[in-house]
């Protein structure tokens, strides 16, 4: 069963298009230089509307995580318990994804992870995180 998928709009299209190419694209403020995620028109640090898209290294560290037993959505029910977390990218932004490649109970703070993409639909790839 397919998970719920994103519905891109003009603010987010570049991120999701990047995922389709297996590139992690985020915005950087053209005035104060702060990297930001999620994609949005203005900088939460300085409110500037000027920005550029950059491609992330795809490297991150685990910031926090949970092991989900359920209830959860039907699309994820057959993989419980699964680990999902918030990772801090080397570029400084935080993203949510599943954490894979080890026993969920072996996950620890600061663990090195790298992005991997699930091609879940012809127009959608989802970035998850695998123990590096």
């Amino acid at each position: 069963m397919q998970p719920p998928l994103p519905a891109p709009n003009p603010d987010t299209q570049e991120f999701w298009d990047g995922c389709r190419r297996h590139e992690l694209r985020i915005q950087r403020c053209a005035d104060c230089g702060t990297a930001r995620f999620t994609p949005r028109p203005a900088c939460p640090r300085c409110a500037s509307l000027r920005f550029a898209w950059i491609t992330c290294s795809g490297r991150a560290r685990v910031h926090t995580w949970t092991v989900i037993h359920g209830p959860t959505l039907p699309a994820f029910a057959d993989r419980t318990p699964y680990a999902a977390g918030v990772v801090r990218l080397d570029e400084g932004v935080f993203m949510v994804g599943q954490i894979r490649g080890c026993d969920p109970h072996a996950i620890h703070e600061g663990m090195r992870v790298a992005v991997e993409f699930d091609d879940v639909a012809p127009d959608v790839s989802l970035p998850h995180w695998r123990v590096a």
Partner: protein, 391 residues
């Protein structure tokens, strides 16, 4: 804001709480509001203000139509569910203080017991997070496609980080659940009244580690309503008024969505709100006799204790050890009705009813001579708190 005691809660009402009431949210609202007006000794013709949640399925026009309110001259709706139930009362009190209304009704009617869904709409019963569309936009597109779908999943991520940063343990979460349950045992309206031990808590199944079933509030059908009036009406009230002594709201760039929560230090804007609250009221946290803290999940009570200054940052685990939250003799009795964890999950609105009962001296878990009660909203959301005073 400081109302200078220009507004007070003089009526409280509620429906029965159940997994399935078998009536619509419209009827839940009507019953709760009628009960609150009856309690206040007021009639629908007296109502000139209406404040409610924006996720309420009964809008201001529906309520006025159903109950025949003819003189409404102030109305407002407020975002963010449990984050906003203090904003609703702040709005009511502010409207009264500014002369826009004299008698404001506020309420929450909520049919969310699992079997009680009555429509396909996101807010029409059942569990909203289960009613996700195949394609989603907005903030949830950054978490739901990855399996972080339910509120408990979000709160588990926040709870884990609190454990990492401060050494908080599952025992601390369990003590929050057990203390609040101990209050519910004497409340005939509470859905969960069986005494609970830490062993019971630890034996309950994991939902999203580190959170267990008994760390979670109980999805419920039911409603609660209050009547807020101006000082002249409060002085003539049938019951002892619960005066709005002070309130503070806060909103910053980080809330419960996990990709947002960790990027900013939320305490910066919350600490400022706490300073406004205590400064306006000219009281300190130690003066508070009881607190109604939004307990959708146990760790969020710990955050609230830190946020409003009952203990220092990261010290909430130590604070709850030793029974500080337990009535009647704990340092800060919390949720003396059983809260959202054990009485009913009415998006916090049942907390008003209990705060008022404490100040009237009519709680089933009464704190002796309670004079000052703090009511605080969901610490995971746009946020706020109100201080209520008996005199």
């Amino acid at each position: 804001m400081g109302s200078g005691k220009r507004a007070a809660i003089v009526g409280i009402g509620q429906t029965a709480f159940a997994k399935q009431l078998g009536i619509t949210e419209a009827e839940v609202a009507c019953r709760a509001i009628r009960a609150a007006l009856d309690d206040a000794g007021l009639a629908p013709r007296d109502v000139d203000g209406l404040c409610l949640y924006d996720i309420e399925s009964n809008g201001v026009a529906e309520i006025a139509t159903m109950l025949g309110f003819r003189g409404v001259r102030f109305f407002s709706t407020h975002s963010h569910g449990g984050g906003s139930y203090c904003a609703i009362v702040t709005s009511a009190a502010a409207a009264i203080a500014a002369g826009h209304a004299r008698t404001v009704v506020a309420f929450r009617a909520r049919n969310r017991g699992r079997r009680s869904g009555f429509g396909s709409g996101m807010m029409e019963g059942g569990r909203p997070w289960e009613k996700v569309a195949p394609r989603i936009d907005g903030m949830y597109q950054w978490q739901v496609p990855f399996g972080v779908a339910a509120p408990v999943h979000e709160m588990a991520l926040i709870a884990r980080r609190h454990m990492l940063d401060y050494g908080t343990t599952e025992d601390h979460f369990g003590e929050v659940a057990c203390a609040i349950r101990s209050h519910a045992t004497s409340n005939p309206h509470a859905l969960m009244r069986e005494p609970m031990t830490l062993a019971d808590h630890h034996a309950s199944r994991f939902v999203a580690e580190p959170l267990r079933l008994l760390d979670c509030c109980i999805e419920t059908d039911g409603g609660a309503a209050i009547v807020v009036v101006d000082a002249a009406r409060a002085r003539d009230a049938r019951h002892r008024p619960a005066w709005v002594l002070a309130s503070a709201q806060c909103l910053g760039p980080a809330h419960h969505h996990p990709h947002d929560w960790f990027g900013f230090d939320r305490r910066r804007w919350i600490r400022a709100a706490a300073e406004r609250l205590w400064g306006t009221a000219a009281v300190r946290p130690d003066d508070v006799d009881a607190a109604m803290l939004y307990d959708h999940f146990t760790p969020m009570v710990l955050l609230a204790l830190e946020d409003w200054g009952f203990c220092g940052e990261g010290e909430s685990g130590g604070f709850v050890d030793g029974g500080a939250l337990r009535a009647p003799h704990g340092r800060l009795p919390v949720n003396t009705h059983g809260g959202q964890l054990s009485e009913a999950f009415i998006h916090g609105f049942n907390n008003w009813n209990e705060a008022v009962r404490q100040l009237r001296g009519t709680s089933t878990c009464q704190v002796p001579d309670a004079e000052l009660v703090l009511v605080a909203a969901a610490s995971s959301d746009p946020y706020g708190a109100v201080l209520l005073s008996a005199s």
